[in-house]
């Protein structure tokens, strides 16, 4: 058993000072927020005792666990409380989960980004459960007048084996709440887990399937007004003037005004950056009236000048970005990308790749491209705000509340403790709701009209003012000598960021390797999109390796394993960021589970594997031809993400990641003409639909006792490569440009 000091976790367990005078009744806001079934109402306790910031226990043994992080569909609202419940030794069916508000004194790492929630919470949340359990045992020991060592906790009871007596958690909760938080706790070894590693249903299922108010867009308050924003239709344009008279003549419209996202001289944060900094607000009594009025505001635009943004990032890093003036076009972007490759800078070099290329019998060179993508969370951007001179209150869907809180305080000139943020369930994040400019906007509008306001974007607003997945291009080159690849050269770039991860596979597997990077400035705003950069590089790299394997006459899995074997046994370079054995592990697992060595007649198969967000995923995609058209019949996914907390929910994420990857690779793109997105809703922007989804996805996890790593993002990137490789087998045509259903030249 591993003894764990409650050191860095200590501050998270400070109990509410209100508890000093004894167990107290706490408010239960969730009682209003959902419709309980009759059995549950009967079971409501009369009193709650807060054991620590994460949990409170009722006198009847019911337990409320606070889920600290934003839920965007990655299952943290279920799986994070499971970590606490495991060490608490409670009965999961006694648990009610409540979404915690942003509270950096009580909780930490309250964000949904980088697939970090579970890995960051792994130890602290188990400690929260374990310390609470120990306090319950200590209280029970006093009540039973036996030494604590003779007691053990199981399924919500503290048992005294020797005398056969037991006490429910509810019976000792009031006494436990008064105890000091223990200095040291013992965490269970993995083989004693009873909740972690078992599938538990989504705690919000019932509310979701009954249409209960749950999402930000559902949130309402008495006296609230509705708001919409008008932003310029194109990147590179700004508002010159507007005439709101027709809009204001509509009965439900209260105000139309121009506003600035930032106050004069305010430092911008990378996560509140917005495409357009000056916008027009339309405020009214219902969403529909606001949407109608927006169409009646007559706005004239003019070209914007160049903008230099100095943005602060995590950890106090600042980054300067240039948004050049001008109206950009996709066709020009493609030309600029081809030219930019010549100006790429070397990021990593091993051995002497140039000499190998000079000496090669043959050079395989392929260029891969991917367009901009819009996140298109199905819940459009929205936020509730009530901002006055004294305080600011926000309710809605935000992935990075911790980072937005200081930005909001700064915007409204308020101390941090006067800014309150409540997170709702989020109707899709994928990175888009990291960028909380819409909170600033809602706040500015509320303060201007002096009322609480709910801002709602239309789909068109949402899609045309994005924090898009950047457009990328990469060229891979391989030197081939005597039917062996002797050097790899990768030149990767994008608008405005490069997708290159220079220390990632196949770096480490070749004696001679060169990685180069380039970027192009643009005024089109971009941001993190599920598995940033990897969501392109996996597909390109894995398509290239497939073609290379074919060129030198090797089986694609065998060739990858051979390279990984080299990277494991005698890696080239000291900075490789992956574990070659775990990488090979998922390939071996997918090989076995898909029956790779036994070809199936009529089934065309492609393979890919990738490492990102600290996890490893390999896919085999099976394509069959039906009526002359390729159909994805099955996807196999083999995943190594360390310990799996909630296996069926993790499988759901992997299934969704496969559908998402295949959909974006085949169909989705955002293009620009004169700075204006050519697609602004789902009629023009194609998302994968039910009848286009793979018919089956089979998910396998590598059994592991390694601390959990990322799960939200890793299943997304490699499937695109496996798809390209399977489609090649089916149709005899290599695919280099996404979307694959578009032209390849």
């Amino acid at each position: 058993m591993s003894k764990q000091k409650v050191d860095q976790g200590r501050r998270f367990f400070i109990k509410s000072s209100l508890l000093a005078g004894g167990g107290m009744m706490l408010a239960f806001p969730w009682l209003e927020s959902c419709n309980f079934s009759p059995e549950q109402v009967k079971a409501m306790p009369k009193e709650w005792f807060e054991i620590n910031g994460y949990l409170k226990i009722g006198e009847n043994g019911l337990i409320t666990i606070m889920s600290p992080n934003p839920e965007i569909g990655q299952n943290v609202k279920t799986s994070m409380p499971m970590l606490i419940a495991e060490e608490l030794n409670c009965d999961w069916s006694d648990v009610i989960v409540e979404q915690a508000p942003l509270n950096s004194n009580k909780f930490f790492h309250q964000m949904a980004g980088g697939s970090t929630s579970i890995s960051a919470a792994w130890t602290p949340l188990r400690k929260a459960g374990a310390t609470a359990c120990q306090m319950l045992i200590t209280a029970a020991a006093a009540a039973l007048e036996v030494p604590a060592e003779e007691l053990n906790a199981e399924l919500g009871f503290v048992h005294h084996q020797a005398s056969g007596r037991k006490l429910g958690f509810g019976e000792v909760a009031s006494a436990a709440a008064l105890l000091e938080v223990p200095e040291e706790v013992t965490l269970k070894p993995i083989n004693e887990f009873k909740i972690i590693g078992t599938s538990r249903k989504n705690v919000d299922s019932k509310k979701i399937v009954t249409g209960a108010s749950l999402f930000g867009i559902d949130y309402k308050e008495e006296g609230m007004l509705y708001a919409g924003v008008i932003h310029p239709p194109a990147f590179g344009l700004k508002i010159k003037s507007f005439d709101a008279s027709r809009a204001l003549a509509l009965p439900g419209i209260e105000a139309v005004f121009q506003f600035e996202n930032y106050r004069e001289g305010q430092a911008k944060g990378a996560f509140d950056i917005s495409a357009h900094q000056t916008q027009i607000a339309v405020v009214g009594r219902s969403t529909w009236e606001v949407f109608q009025a927006k169409k009646l505001v007559e706005v004239t635009y003019e070209e914007a000048e160049e903008v230099i943004n100095k943005m602060s990032f995590f950890g106090g890093r600042t980054l300067e970005t240039r948004w050049p003036a001008g109206l950009e076009n996709t066709a020009d972007h493609k030309k600029a990308m081809n030219q930019a490759e010549a100006k790429a800078k070397v990021v990593r070099q091993d051995g002497n790749p140039d000499a190998q290329f000079n000496a090669a019998d043959q050079v395989l060179e392929r260029t891969y491209y991917a367009p901009y993508l819009a996140h298109n969370t199905l819940e459009p951007l929205n936020f509730f705000a009530e901002v006055t001179d004294e305080s600011a209150r926000f309710v809605g869907p935000i992935q990075l509340p911790e980072i937005l809180e200081p930005a909001l305080a700064d915007r409204f000139g308020l101390p941090l403790d006067k800014v309150e943020i409540m997170m709702t369930r989020i109707g899709g994040g994928f990175g888009r709701k990291l960028y909380g400019h819409f909170m600033l906007e809602a706040g500015v509008i509320s303060k201007t009209v002096g009322k609480p306001v709910k801002l709602v974007y239309t789909r068109e607003d949402d899609m045309t003012a994005g924090a898009y997945r950047p457009s990328y291009q990469v060229t891979y080159r391989a030197a081939i000598k005597s039917n062996k690849a002797t050097a790899i050269h990768v030149i990767a770039g994008g608008i405005p960021e490069s997708p290159l991860a220079a220390d990632r596979f196949p770096a480490g597997a070749f004696d001679h390797y060169k990685a180069e990077s380039w970027t192009i400035d643009s005024n089109i705003t971009t941001g993190a999109f599920r598995a940033p950069r990897s969501n392109f590089m996996a597909s390109a790299e894995q398509s290239f390796l497939d073609e290379l394997a074919e060129q030198i006459g090797k089986d694609p899995i065998a060739y990858r394993l051979e390279l990984l074997e080299r990277a494991a046994s005698s890696p080239v370079g000291a900075r490789n960021d992956y574990d070659a054995e775990r990488y090979a592990g998922v390939l071996k697992l997918v090989k076995e589970k898909s029956g790779w060595d036994t070809p199936k007649p009529g089934v065309h198969r492609g393979v890919a594997a990738y490492f990102c967000h600290r996890s490893y995923v390999a896919n085999v995609v099976d394509v069959v031809m039906e009526n002359g058209r390729p159909v994805v019949d099955k996807v196999y996914a083999a995943i190594d993400c360390g310990v799996v907390i909630n296996p069926d929910a993790a499988a759901n994420l992997a299934e969704g990641g496969s559908v998402d990857g295949i959909g974006h690779a085949l169909y989705s793109q955002l293009t620009f003409s004169q700075g204006k997105p050519d697609q602004d809703n789902f009629d023009a922007y194609r998302l994968i639909r039910h009848n286009e989804a793979p018919r089956d996805v089979e998910v396998h996890f590598v059994p592991s006792d390694i601390d959990p790593t990322g799960m939200g993002e890793p299943p997304f990137p490699p499937v695109m490569g496996a798809l390209a490789n399977a489609l090649y087998k089916a149709e005899g045509r290599r695919l280099y440009k996404q979307p694959f259903t578009g032209p390849q030249v």
Partner: protein, 152 residues
């Protein structure tokens, strides 16, 4: 503005709104029935699906003036305790990821199963093709529809 009396989820509700107001916004803003979701506003995503006299309809495209005395059913009225076979199948298959599309998916599936109680996989796929799930839960939706078909 005009007054309308609607028959929703077995009850009668009166609202005073512009005749062009889509049912989506009547439900969400005026009647506080927020289970019906806004996704696109142009009949492309299905998040706003409700039943009009048992037929699945995109409420973002249905002005209140066209509803008349039709029976309106929303996700909130599907069952009293959230135990309609389709809802139970959704919970059993643990379908939702973010969950935002799911009330629309359930309403489409329910209307479809009333017409076709024993669908094939392909029939399910095409019947559900109008409902986008951005999280990609299509496979579980298919399983849940099949599951519900057995219990209806």
């Amino acid at each position: 503005m005009a007054q309308y009396t609607l028959h929703i989820n077995g009850a009668t509700r009166t609202v005073d709104v512009d005749p062009a107001t889509p049912m989506l916004w009547v439900l969400r803003d005026h009647l506080n029935l927020v289970g019906t979701k806004f996704g696109c506003g142009i009949a492309q995503c299905g998040a706003c699906t409700i039943h009009i006299n048992g037929v699945a309809v995109r409420s973002c495209q249905l002005p209140i003036s066209a509803v008349g005395s039709s029976k309106v059913l929303t996700i909130e009225g599907l069952s009293e305790h959230g135990d309609h076979p389709v809802q139970l199948a959704w919970i059993k298959q643990d379908v939702p990821q973010c969950g935002y599309c799911q009330s629309g998916q359930i309403m489409t599936a329910t209307a479809f199963l009333q017409q076709n109680p024993n669908p094939t996989d392909q029939e399910i796929e095409s019947a559900m093709a109008g409902n986008i799930c951005r999280c990609g839960t299509y496979l579980r939706i298919k399983k849940a529809v099949k599951d519900a078909a057995e219990n209806l």
